[in-house]
């Protein structure tokens, strides 16, 4: 399942909801991405996430479908926030559930790598020197390429 929302999420609640009442799961892996309070040597005031409504959801669904094709997953959840966020706030949550841990770990990493290079989100930082769009990093492209 995928969700795009302004509101914060509670990772503990999301994980508990995902495996409540199930005895077929052996492993749950989660990743939480946070807003760092420093960028380019400056203190970050806030970060605003813009997205492409409609395509974002479709792209996240495509990425989830691909993860389920590659690994034996019992469940997968991606929650991504949009709007203005402060340092320390949660941005993104990925949860994967599988019979065994390796599939859950690998699929979680795959979901994050693909999300970072394919899902249409853009970060704008507000720092002391003004507003700056975050530049995409080659290392993120490389991370996604290794799953080819």
């Amino acid at each position: 399942m995928i969700r795009v929302q302004k509101e914060d999420f509670d990772p503990g609640v999301e994980i508990a909801t995902l495996h409540r009442g199930r005895s077929d799961l052996g492993a749950v892996v989660s990743f939480v991405g946070l807003v760092r309070g420093e960028s380019h040597g400056e203190r970050l005031t806030s970060m605003t996430l813009e997205h492409f409504p409609g395509m974002t959801e479709r792209e996240l669904e495509r990425i989830e479908r691909e993860a389920r094709e590659r690994w034996t997953l019992d469940d997968a959840l991606v929650v991504h926030r949009v709007g203005e966020l402060k340092p320390g706030e949660r941005i993104v949550l990925v949860v994967t559930a599988a019979p065994h841990r390796r599939a859950a770990f690998e699929a979680a990493e795959f979901l994050m790598d693909y999300l970072k290079t394919r899902a249409p989100f853009w970060k704008r930082e507000l720092r002391a020197s003004g507003e700056h769009w975050v530049e995409a990093r080659d290392s993120d492209d490389d991370a996604a390429l290794r799953w080819r």
Partner: protein, 83 residues
């Protein structure tokens, strides 16, 4: 044709979306961009370095050689930076 712009592409163009009647010869994303570049300083600035611009046609990532036709929704944006 419906055009959408996001992030700094939107800021440079000066709007988030518009409906356009592109010329008949704009049958690919690349040809459409050439026409857009001639529409004013904001467009020329937004599309000055195409290595920094990504495209989606009808909400699918495509490259600049992809075909476009009237009725399509074409979105232009910088490389994505979510997560």
């Amino acid at each position: 044709m419906r055009l959408l712009y996001f992030a700094w592409v939107r800021q440079k163009v000066g709007r988030g979306e518009e409906l356009v009647d592109a010329p008949a010869e704009a049958t690919t994303v690349g040809a459409l961009v050439q026409w857009l570049q001639s529409r004013g300083d904001g467009y020329a600035d937004a599309f000055a370095d195409l290595k920094r611009v990504r495209v989606a046609v009808n909400q699918e990532h495509v490259d600049f050689g992809a075909p476009v036709r009237s009725g399509d929704e074409v979105a232009f944006f910088p490389p994505v930076t979510g997560g």
